[in-house]
Assembly symmetry: C2
């Protein structure tokens, strides 16, 4: 815990708005994750600059308090909130903003870790650009880097790692050492690419304070379709046919289960149900084409192209399509983005953010549809996800009248069973784009080879000699 | 050095074709790099499998001999050949091939480190795909990974890092520990992404033995143009205009200096000179558009699109274009790919593979054109490169009648001076895509912060407790 002098030093360093104690009204917001997880903070630090953050870490090092780095606080795995002990401090990136500096020639932007995705894009859009990671939530840049998010347009633009040209990091060591990798070069191979160590590791080795990010031109034309595939096997055929016919115009290929769509319609009654006769199919695919350039004379708009391509796939001998509706891009994404909220309101959600090779994803889904009801009767599979890149939000919902509702041992059995299927049987990942966090620690422990655990521990010692950062990968 | 028993064990393990001694006829080829560098090998190991390679490393560990990993041996920085001492062994990846396994659903391929880029593509092309890293040389996969090459289509497809979905690695430790990261997932954030440590670090931490790589559909239509920009400043304007009008259709934006083109024409007299009146401009840009899908009814082929877009840029008030010729894609790349050979025959080449932000690259070129002749009279600047991603092959040529020709102290002064400009003045990188190697060791020593050197050393100790691998990053 901090003594009186340490409190005073932190308060002097960060100002009254930068150092919150439990008696401060604003502190509670940092104890509860917007989505999952809740704890108790001894204090909250809100530095405005990397220098302040560095000095604050050095001060906390003296006091030997554990810091939990917290960015937008929108994660799924309980990584951003303190535990229940009340002795951990929250190191918030909220105020770490600074100037958003766009470099048109380099097609890149320099941005502070506390800037929200929506803020960044609000700044870039009038200039004709955006940071191309498309998410339902609104995280801040630091957390997007620490979890290496990918989102719904990964298929076209890759993940955060692939769009990071520079990083600034502060280590949890005695000095709060600042490391600067901010040249913003697209090609640079002069030794270890240290940026990679901090991307996707949840702040385990240091706090990301600033970044140089690649930006992409805004879409000038878009088209979207809802597709009902014949069955799980047809999904891959449709994906490959679209990739072959549309190349980089294909910017999203999302899957939505009937159960997830039903939850969304229940929770958001105003949502338009576009399916024939109001019926909801077993699965629907959301397909999007985008182009950032103007359509030329004689060319169809993308909606026309999408209709032509779907017509083509429609006539395949294998008959992979049952239905396909080209319609409003906005309406279709409204449905997609309502799934998350809808599912949350259907009961107790047990969320999984898993991934597979594109081949195995559909096999996993089929197997689960058959086996899960047998193993865990009454639990609903309300999944959706990024079929085009192998990522799946495999959400299970325990209805309120189910005996396992709010029964933590039931939930733990359920989680363990699913992850065994994901990792051991379908060679998948237990965390696609939310990093390890508290929720996945047991799976990390179980599935990480001893040699790699040991190497991670040594990295941890190397970057911060004392285990000040509470995020452990060991 | 190996004793008799160790020789026998290696010979028994690898067979007569897998273990070469200086008296073997085939050994000499491993002592000289195809491009730069020459040394003397005590022996050469050519394992056929990762298991053999692992056991060979364990045996060499006992003997405490230094191994130099050698892949396609086409690098620029002397990383792939042994030194002059005659006591180092070469660990060749030549025979590490195995099956090339294409996964159509995952759009990926599993491949051994010894497979050449041309072999890989010969296998993928009949299937309608290629590994999208486009290089003048023909390296093997292991070396491409170890140097993180990018090449001429980086602008569209990124570097090797961005196209790597899986890696298998053997460490230089006592056991020759094998690490397997071969799931081939596109999204996976479950701790440290260890693949990243081995990509671009020149084999310093282990030997890459296999990989899962992303593949991309082949182009079905292409168009190329040679463009003469008004001046250096116009180059950036043309690049941004093309990006904005062509998006991901723009697959290359290469720059070629007059001096480099003259060298190519001198060396390859059959090369067609497309410029008006046979004159060669100060600089030419090679622009390529590609699409992997069929042109639809009513659409122009890409050559028509490129003409329209260039006509548009032609009419800019700033008049960025002096000349623009849309022509044969093959002819234009023939010129581009002849530059490297041409420059080599013009005298003693002092090659630099440097990079900058896209903004600084042209500023660097202008400054060098003015200052280098003053500092080093008579040295020719024959540069060319990947303007679209900031990479520049800044080749200097010392003519045969120059006093500095084959004068190593002159060459060292020249190299040091250029790198000071690159790194200290223009905030660039001394190695864009050939890693550190022997040639850049002095620059690594000079420009790597102490803390990072120390961290690299610790990584080295962690992955291989004894300094068996000769590639050092410390």
């Amino acid at each position: 815990m901090l003594n009186a002098q340490q409190r005073e030093s932190l308060s002097a360093l960060l100002g009254p708005k930068g150092f919150l104690l439990p008696e401060d009204h604003d502190l509670a917001a940092y104890e509860t994750c917007v989505r999952y997880g809740q704890g108790k903070a001894a204090f909250v630090l809100r530095p405005e600059t990397s220098q302040q953050l560095s000095r604050a870490i050095a001060l906390c090092h003296e006091a030997a308090v554990t810091l939990i780095p917290q960015s937008g606080n929108t994660g799924l795995v309980g990584a951003s909130v303190p535990d229940q002990s009340g002795v951990q401090g929250v190191l918030s990136l909220d105020h770490l903003k600074g100037e958003i500096a766009f470099d048109p020639d380099n097609r890149s932007v320099t941005v502070g870790a506390g800037v929200r995705l929506s803020e960044l894009n609000a700044c870039l859009e009038p200039l004709g650009f955006s940071f191309p990671i498309d998410l339902g939530a609104d995280p801040a840049v630091g957390g997007m880097l620490a979890t290496n998010t990918g989102g719904a347009r990964f298929l076209r633009y890759g993940d955060v790692r692939q769009n990071t040209l520079g990083l600034e990091v502060v280590l949890y060591d005695e000095q709060g050492t600042q490391l600067n990798f901010m040249k913003g070069l697209r090609k640079d191979n002069t030794g270890v690419d240290w940026k990679q160590l901090f991307i996707g590791t949840g702040g385990a080795f240091g706090v990301i304070t600033r970044a140089v990010l690649n930006v992409e031109p805004l879409a000038r034309d878009q088209a979207a379709a809802l597709i009902v595939p014949r069955d799980d096997k047809a999904v891959s055929e449709i994906l490959l046919a679209l990739e072959s016919r549309c190349g980089p115009l294909l910017t999203a290929f999302e899957g939505m289960s009937r159960e997830a769509m039903l939850c969304a319609y229940d929770h958001v009654p105003s949502l338009r149900n576009p399916f024939a006769g109001g019926d909801v199919p077993e699965m629907a695919l959301l397909v999007e084409l985008s182009q950032s350039w103007e359509t030329m004379e004689g060319e169809q708009p993308l909606s026309g192209r999408l209709e032509t391509v779907l017509g083509d796939i429609w006539s395949f001998e294998s008959e992979p399509l049952v239905d396909a509706l080209v319609g409003s891009v906005h309406d279709m994404w409204s449905l997609r983005h309502a799934l998350s909220e809808g599912v949350k309101h259907a009961g107790q959600i047990v969320p999984f953010d898993v991934s597979f090779t594109r081949r195995e994803l559909m096999t996993f889904r089929s197997a689960m549809a058959e086996e899960l009801p047998r193993e865990f009767p009454g639990v609903r599979i309300c999944d959706f996800g990024h079929i085009g890149d192998g990522g799946l939000h495999f959400n299970l919902v325990i209805p309120q009248d189910h005996q396992g509702y709010r029964d933590s041992s039931f939930v733990e059995r359920l989680r363990a069973w699913v992850i065994v299927q994901v990792v051991e049987r379908f060679n998948g990942s237990f965390s696609a784009e939310h990093a390890v966090g508290r929720s996945n620690q047991a799976f990390y422990d179980r599935y990480t080879p001893q040699k790699l655990k040991q190497m991670s521990e040594e990295l941890k010692k190397m970057t911060s000699p004392d285990p000040l950062g509470a995020v452990t990968l060991s």
